[in-house]
Amino acid sequence: MIPLSKKGIPLSCSALWEEDEKMTNAQNDVLVLGDIEFSSRLFTGTGKFASRDLITPMLEASGSQMITVALRRVDSSEKGDNILNYIPKTVTLLPNTSGARTAQEAVRIARIAREAGCGNFIKIEVITDMQYLLPDNHETLLATEILAKEGFVVLPYMMPDITVTKQLYNAGAAAVMPLGSPIGTNRGLEMKPMIKMIIETSKIPVVVDAGIGRPSQAAEAMEMGADAVLVNTAIATAADPVLAGKAFSYAVKAGRMAYLSSLAETKMQASASSPLTGFLRD
């Protein structure tokens, strides 16, 4: 284990951390989901860590304010090692319905999560393909309809699809979570063109979830205009998850700033600084 500062930040990057704290959020740029304002646009996850003890320092280092946890891993029995104990109260829980194969199962898991004290947020994850772990949009939509009516803040994990995005909005979803590439693959934004269209048209926030393996890919999603990204595997399976969390937080911030600054577009051809029509005066 690498040495940590009192704050749980790796000593190797504590200098960066101090500098970072001076960085102000000049535009008061927050993402609102449910009733909650998120100043960090990096969402994280609890799965795949070598030790649950890494979760708290990772959250501190990354500044992430929302973390997803599979209800199937929540053990609230008296003697159980409850994963929720590793998540500071200031961080919003995003329980997910991992293990659900139908809308009905997702709905049941969501209700259990609420009863177990996991709050009002729910990430709907309905997967019927264990080989590629791709979401079932149809069942996801059905579950969204039911859970939104029951007052959940619903964040559906989805296959990037413009039509389904509209349907999810109509069903009451608080955001959509299109996948960048299959879960855990670290392949980045393979669905980029589709996600771009969703960002251009969606009336609700777009959180790119799954497949983001590197900070540069997270930055790319944010530059494109994604409202947030969710990163789990890349952070959890890094040799130093705390430092990786930090790296992703910088990337997400940089990508967001780039988006807000409306960078000039890249062009395929060189553009002349003395344009051909420059002589026109009237």
Binding site: F49, A50, I112, M130, G184, T237
Partner: protein
């Protein structure tokens, strides 16, 4: 199932002999492996590439499962059995005293196991439906639901409808071992009882998948057939199940025969090297495959396997009926446990190796 059946008459011996080092390397470097790639990785020449296979297997396993390992424990509730399997301590020709737990005794056993921290339970019986009828099994499941978050069964092959009843009662996972994919040997070691029907057993995992179990675990019993071809057939069977039932989690086990009272000695022994080779070859063939290793294996060996691609360990296991709570049960063990450490000792080892033991990974809903 045709994919599996087409290899039943395959000449494994000649194929394995024809594999070259170059064939192995070619298969090792592919992303999507064919059945022939699996054969190449299971061949003797592949042993010289074990380290490369291990590196790749570790990478893939980390990607899909992270640095975690699922934990479970077995619970034997009855050892009555009408089958005569020559390798098993529960066989009907053995005059060992038989035991079937009452529902209260099951409750007592469950309490002890749950106090050890275990949340996933695997319930086992012999094959004697007249002693352990559906009503008894369902009652057992109802009791176990109060202590555990996942209930698996390793009982006797059933019809789809029976499995559906158990699924509705709360069982989410099915384990059934083919024992051997060599039909000749299968016939020689199964002398009596319903288990003599090779085909019915072979189709059991898919009846379970159709009945709605979310997880299905299969495997050969190493010690009966020729290890390389058994590992291949099991891998192929697993792949077939994964492709046919994409919403079911498929896993493989590789039990090696250990000494059982009243059982025969292994016909083929499987060395540690080849045991590891099989885990690695399976992982490369099926990146998302669950791989279970029980306490049949030694503590020292299991500590090392952790890094190679396994995903699930049992711990603190008792393999006799009433072994956890019934002090004077005097029951026969189905097999001899080699890793006799407590759950706490095993989880400490897992943590020291940089892995997270996961006790609860399901919710009965």
């Amino acid at each position: 199932m045709d994919v599996v059946k087409q290899f039943e008459s395959f000449d494994f011996n000649s194929y394995f002999k024809s594999v070259s080092a170059a064939d192995v390397l070619h298969s090792l470097n592919r992303d999507l492996l064919s059945p022939y790639d699996l054969l190449n990785l299971l061949s003797e020449p592949a042993l010289q590439f074990l380290e490369q296979m291990a590196q790749k297997s570790q990478k893939i396993t980390r990607q899909y499962f992270g640095r975690t390992i699922g934990m479970y424990a077995p619970l034997y509730i009855s050892d009555y059995c009408s089958n005569h399997c020559t390798y098993c301590g529960f066989n009907c020709a053995s005059d060992a005293k038989r035991l079937k737990l009452t529902i209260d005794q099951i409750k007592a056993e469950a309490q002890v196991i749950s106090d050890m921290g275990i949340r996933h339970i695997l319930v086992l019986t012999g094959e004697a439906p007249e002693k352990t009828p559906m009503s008894y099994l369902i009652e057992a499941v109802e009791v176990l639901k109060t202590c555990f978050s996942s209930i698996g069964i390793e009982m006797f092959p059933m019809d789809e409808e029976d499995y559906r009843q158990l699924k509705d009662a709360g069982v989410d996972s099915l384990t059934v071992y083919q024992e051997t994919y060599d039909q000749q040997i299968y016939k020689q070691v199964h002398l009596k009882g319903k288990k003599m029907d090779y085909q019915y057993r072979l189709l059991t995992p898919e009846r379970g998948a159709r009945a709605g179990f979310r997880s299905v675990n299969i495997g050969p019993l190493f010690g009966l057939g020729e290890p390389g071809s058994e590992a291949f057939m099991a891998g192929l069977h697993a792949k077939y199940l994964e492709q046919t039932f994409p919403d079911v989690e498929i896993s493989l086990s590789l039990p090696r025969m250990t000494k059982a009272a009243g059982g025969i000695a292994p016909r083929h022994t499987l060395s540690d090297r080849r045991f590891v080779q099989f885990i690695l070859a399976w992982r490369l063939f099926m990146p998302r495959l669950g791989i279970t290793v029980s306490t049949r294996e030694s503590a020292r060996f299991r500590d090392k396997l952790l890094h190679l691609g396994v995903t699930r360990y049992s711990a603190g296991s008792k393999t006799d009926v009433g072994g956890y709570a019934l002090k004077d049960a005097e029951a026969t063990a189905q097999f001899e446990v080699t890793d006799t450490r407590t759950v706490d000792e095993v989880t400490q080892m897992i943590r020291e190796n940089g892995f997270q033991p996961v006790f609860k990974d399901w919710e009965i809903f």
